[in-house]
């Protein structure tokens, strides 16, 4: 075998080194024009409520078990018995069986007391709460006290014997169980059997998600949604992309309250879901 001369070896080495240099120069020029960093997805939105929602249920249930007597006397300091006509109803919260009323005496309207159902004020026991009035009971008789503004300062009312009023129903507040949520999360196909939703676009941009169909008597139908509703906001997050809707679906297990704003007949309507 013929041994290659030093000159030949040097020339091969020079060629290889030149090729390496050219390859490196090409790579460097390619590198110069290419981006130095990639694309990362940033998610700025959160479906957690931006405010803390207070669970009134715990507050409402407590006084029922142990009624606290706010003022265990129906007489004033002079020993004079209070008439229901001498009481003012300044505010209320709740429904027929649970809630609070803000009451004051006519003689001292600025001194208010907050009483829960079952509690006694000036000898009257708070029995029921309605949209614009409360029912007190004393000596097996029912007394109606109307909210100050509702009765146009004619709040003081008469003894009533029978109350046949319809309970206040918060139509837009729905209680959803965790089981329902978990069931839908485990079988998402059930969602699409019960409800049809598609993106609603205005000038080519998604402005919400429209309910195209809803199965009668399904769980979805019980949630207050109607065909034609356009869901535009959930927990103050605008629903303007499929991602917003999907994220809402994905995070539904983590949230306990959902405020859904829908456009119905051109008007915004808020539907609140308490997930328990």
């Amino acid at each position: 075998m013929q041994k290659p001369s030093n000159t030949k070896l040097i020339s091969i080495a020079i060629i290889l080194l030149s090729l390496l240099l050219v390859a490196k120069l090409i790579s460097l020029s390619v590198w110069w024009f290419l981006p130095s960093d990639g694309v990362e997805y940033t998610q700025a939105k959160s479906y957690k409520s931006i405010y803390q929602r207070v669970n009134f249920k715990n507050m409402l249930d407590a006084p029922k078990k142990q009624p606290k007597i706010v003022e265990d006397s129906s007489t004033n300091s002079n020993g004079v018995e209070y008439s229901i006509n001498n009481l003012l109803l300044k505010g209320l919260y709740g429904n027929k069986t649970s809630g609070y009323a803000i009451v004051a005496k006519l003689t001292q309207p600025e001194v208010t007391s907050v009483i829960g159902i079952g509690e006694i004020y000036a000898g009257y026991k708070l029995k029921e709460i309605y949209q614009d009035r409360v029912i007190f009971t004393k000596n097996s008789k029912d007394y109606k006290l109307t909210l100050m503004n509702a009765s146009k300062n004619n709040a003081l009312n008469n003894v009533i014997t029978k109350v046949k009023e319809k309970e206040i129903v918060y139509e837009d507040e729905h209680k959803v169980t965790r089981n329902d949520i978990n069931n839908y999360a485990a079988h998402p196909e059930k969602i699409w059997k019960d409800i049809g939703i598609k993106a609603y676009k205005k000038n080519g941009k998604i402005t919400g998600f429209i309910v195209t169909r809803i199965k009668a008597n399904s769980k979805m139908a019980q949630l207050g949604l109607q065909k034609g509703d356009i869901m535009i906001r959930a927990n103050n997050i605008e629903l303007t992309s499929p991602n917003d809707a999907i994220n809402l679906y994905k995070n539904i297990k983590k949230i306990d309250t959902l405020e859904l704003v829908v456009l119905r007949d051109g008007q915004e309507k808020e539907i609140i879901y308490e997930i328990r």
């Binding site: 790579s27 590198w31 290419l34 990639g38 694309v39 990362e40 997805y41 998402p188 992309s241 999907i246």
Partner: protein, 177 residues
Amino acid sequence: MVKKITKLFIYFIFFILALIVFMPKSSLYFFGEKNLKQFSVIVSDEKIKEGLFSLSLSDITIYAKGVDSAKVKKVDATLMLIYNSIDITDIEISSVAAPYLPTKIKNVDISYTIFNPLVVNAVSNGEFGEAKAKFDIIKRELKVYLKPSKKMLRKYTRSLRYFKKDTKGEYVYAKTF
């Protein structure tokens, strides 16, 4: 003459291999990523490792149109001039897609060799069964041959409607781009 051609060929191979070694693979990947973004596909959270002839990505999350669409454990891209491959392992498609297809794909191997320069091949298996795909570069035609799993046949008959059953009992999907 033959000796000279052989010599030139060896130099050419050496040059190409040097080019692959020096090529900024991460930057090329970033370039691809930016192009994908135009189609509303974002590859995110990935860890990148560059080798002499390879590029590895791990723990990837893929967002399509802003939707968290899939998570991929590992992607290995190997460039060896004669044989190039992309091996993708452990893909988990978002649960949102669960009503339409099984969400776990064990692996997808895409390969390209200069001995068959006009075709890109892919094989895959997962909960859906086994699949082979061929992409004809000239005809711009994709053909997917699927052997569906029992789960696929039982639960995802609606998705199988996109495939045509051939005489061998294989499900075939064809699309021209």
